[in-house]
């Protein structure tokens, strides 16, 4: 029922060291907010499209776009209203609907938002959650925080299943001779409320048990922890670092040249 975005694969993005991905991610985000002409972010977006298409395939390119397209339409419709000055392109009576400036702004926003979406999608599509956590702790994210996230991920499917069970259990608390239930939003809320209470009590009751499990695994000891598993070291790490730097250099050069 609940699944992470990650899919196994053997593209070069999958083998890319996740520490480098985590290093690149904020820099690429910043790049999209740099004052640059529209064709630069549009060009970079095309590059990202190309990357996704070659490494992950057509389906994986469509998937993130399918999730954001309503918002993209909104952007295209609503943004031009904020830029009435400029060369009018579409005009009904005295009211200017579209100017060249408005159109450019729309393109800028669309490529920015789509670009950010695709970057995040690529990261989570090609990197398993545990590797991201390992990578983050390599960047000195405190152990307790990574532990919280990984324990939460372990409990999400459990609680989701519990929700299903509790819903079934409550559905059967009726009798042969009962009057039929009412319908409508309010009735639906009243029906879901007992389920939420049961689920919450069940969830809250696991806290003391989990506390015990963690104590018995040695959470709270003063000595330093060791770590059995580390991020798998890719064979071509030198190449990957080189590629990362190359990408950044290109982007910086473009930024300087065009702005």
């Amino acid at each position: 029922m609940i699944d992470t975005l990650y899919r196994r694969g053997d593209s070069f993005l999958h083998y890319y060291d996740c520490r480098l991905k985590l290093f690149l991610l904020p820099l690429l985000l910043v790049f999209f907010f740099m004052p640059a002409p529209w064709f630069l972010s549009a060009g970079f977006l095309l590059f990202l499209f190309f990357l996704t298409l070659t490494a992950l395939g057509f389906v994986d390119l469509l998937l993130p776009l399918k999730m954001i397209y309503p918002l993209l339409i909104f952007i295209l419709i609503l943004t031009p209203f904020f830029y009435p000055t400029g060369l009018p392109l579409l005009k009904i009576g005295s009211f200017v609907f579209l100017t060249d400036k408005g159109l450019l702004e729309s393109f800028l926003y669309i490529s920015r938002f789509t670009g950010i979406t695709i970057i995040f999608f690529m990261l989570f599509r090609t990197t398993p959650m545990e590797d991201i956590l390992l990578g983050l702790s390599w960047y000195r994210l405190p152990y307790t925080l990574t532990l919280v996230i990984s324990v939460a991920l372990r409990y999400i499917p459990h609680l989701a299943g519990l929700y299903g069970q509790i819903t079934s259990a409550h559905a059967l608390r009726c009798s042969v001779n009962d009057t039929p239930p009412r319908k409508g939003l309010f009735a639906r809320l009243r029906k879901i409320f007992p389920i939420l209470v049961s689920l919450m009590i069940q969830g809250v009751k696991t806290i003391p048990v989990l506390t015990m499990a963690l104590e018995l695994k040695g959470i709270g000891r003063d000595n330093g922890r060791t770590r059995l598993r580390n991020i798998p070291a890719p064979e071509k790490r030198g190449w990957q670092i080189f590629l990362t730097i190359l990408l950044l250099v290109f982007l910086i050069i473009f930024l300087i040249v065009f702005s």
Binding site: Q165, L172, C174, S175, P181, P194, T206, P208, L216, L228
Partner: protein
């Protein structure tokens, strides 16, 4: 602080231990131990038998210092490990000396990878990675953990989870091993292997081993372990004499002569009849349920038995209308029935009673089902009082979420007793429940003119009061037996 040399003190010593859970309005706190004494030296293997809720789990937790902890329980007396009072250190600082396996593996597993789970405690102890790997490989071989190390432990079967936790314990290599109901979910071979390993650990590696169990297994007799019985807050040695055995019988640890269920003789009207039923889960193509024919009349009790994943619960869900069958028909009292009617006519007592409980008091819970019944308030209260008495519930104002498992289970029974249903399905009603509680629920529900289905994976079917036994495997009913005929044989 005095440096304790191991050996000069017994490994574990419990002196005059008392333990009482806190009281809440409407519910008096349970006292579990009254002056419990125990001594265990290195090299000893002790099996402690006790009926469900006699305090085995609590004792195990007290011995690793996680209890009293958050429970706010009142404690008297001392627990000493190598002469050091256990309350002097916090639980995480005892993990190099004491280790515990929970009864429910799901409560103990905190990671989503087999190797992470196995390494966790050792990482906390600061053991070097290559040492962890070495120990892990060895104990994985010992306990037959042969699946992919990246696999999510929660996707394992019950027996596999137990084996994983056992190998975690072996890796931790503590002096005192405590195992809470480790025999559950292991097959015959696994149980014998476990007892042999534990005997070996005690005699050759000088560990102290404590094993808690609520059922007497025949293989206990052939192992080197001593047996004690936890009864009314204290421990008694069991020497195999008849007096001790009598206590065992009283508690339902050994299935005794169960009073043969009153054979109704006359056949009631047909409650449920299914034919040509097929169901397959959308996300699991390996499993399919196919039932050619199954029928049950009023006053009859059917027992569905079989290993986990054989389709017992799926069949139950179909009968309650929680999932729709892809093929075949379900006749309820001779008429084809859809989701709505099945929902209303069939009651499913989930193994975990808490799924249905959410209100602050027992009487609130009992009254809820009667809300749409069209009865007057006076009639409803009379019904609630009747149910309180029949199911021996502690009182109107007791908070359900704080009652013990057995009482919550009886409350669940009482809720369904008040709901007029034609068919009751009890899921794993016999596990974790004392025989007396189980009997109460079954007997009361049987009073209604309805049909009963009991789902179990218990091998000793004779301890269950049923009329027909259906053995299931791989989504099929393999064989059907009449249980009455066996009693007379």
């Amino acid at each position: 602080m005095v440096e304790n040399t191991p050996g000069s003190f017994p490994l574990l010593k419990i002196e005059d231990y008392h333990f009482t859970f806190p009281s809440y309005p409407g519910l008096k706190g349970r006292t579990l131990f009254k002056g419990l004494d125990l001594q265990l030296s290195r090299g000893e293997f002790l099996i402690i038998l006790g009926k469900p809720e006699s305090g085995k789990t609590t004792l195990g937790r007290c011995l690793c210092a996680v209890y009293p902890g958050l429970t706010q329980a009142t404690v008297q007396g001392r627990i000493l490990i190598d002469g050091e009072d256990i309350s002097k250190r916090s639980a995480c600082d005892w993990i190099d000396r004491v280790s515990l396996i929970f009864q429910d593996p799901d409560e103990q597993i905190v990671t989503s990878r087999t190797d992470d789970e196995a390494a966790f405690a050792l990482e906390s102890l600061g053991v070097e990675p290559h040492v962890i790997t070495e120990r892990m490989n060895q104990s994985f071989i010992d306990f037959g953990v042969s699946w992919n190390k990246e696999r999510n432990p929660l996707s394992l079967s019950g027996g596999e989870k137990k084996r994983l936790l056992l190998s975690c314990m072996k890796m931790q290599d503590t002096d005192l091993w405590i195992l809470d109901e480790p025999m559950d979910e292991l097959d015959q071979q696994g149980q014998e292997f476990l007892l042999k390993t534990l005997s070996h650990m005690a005699s050759c590696e000088q560990k102290g081993v404590l094993l808690f169990a609520s059922k007497y297994h025949k293989s206990f007799a052939s192992s080197s372990a001593e047996i004690a019985i936890l009864h009314e807050g204290g421990l008694q040695q069991y020497q195999g004499d008849s007096e001790s055995l009598q206590i065992l019988f009283d508690q339902g640890l050994v299935p005794g002569e169960s009073s043969s269920p009153e054979s109704s003789g006359k056949k009631g009207q047909s409650i449920i009849h299914i034919s040509g039923l097929k169901y397959q889960y959308p996300d699991n193509s390996e499993f399919s349920l196919e039932i050619d024919e199954f029928s049950l009349n009023a006053g009859e009790t059917a027992v569905l038995a079989g290993p986990n994943g054989c389709g017992k619960s799926t069949l139950a869900r179909l009968l309650c209308g929680l999932i729709p069958p892809q093929e075949g028909t379900i006749l309820l009292e001779g008429e084809p029935a859809g989701k709505e009617r099945l929902n209303r006519s069939c009651g499913y007592l989930f193994q975990n009673p808490d799924y249905q409980l959410f209100l602050p008091t027992v009487s609130d819970e009992l009254e809820l089902g009667l809300k749409h019944s069209g009865l007057t308030r006076k009639e409803r209260l009379a019904l609630v009082d009747e149910a309180l008495e029949l199911f021996q519930l502690p009182g109107r104002n007791a908070p359900p979420s704080l009652m013990s498992f057995g009482v919550r289970k009886r409350l669940q029974g009482a809720i369904y007793y008040l709901l007029e249903k034609r068919l009751y399905i009890l899921d794993e009603a016999d596990s974790g429940l004392s025989y007396r509680d189980y009997e109460t629920i079954i007997r009361q529900l049987k009073k209604k003119d309805c049909a009963l289905i009991i789902i179990t994976h218990n091998q000793e079917i004779s301890s269950i009061e049923g009329d027909h036994l259906y053995q299931m495997a791989g989504g099929r009913i393999l064989e059907q037996r009449d249980l009455h005929r066996e009693y007379t044989l």
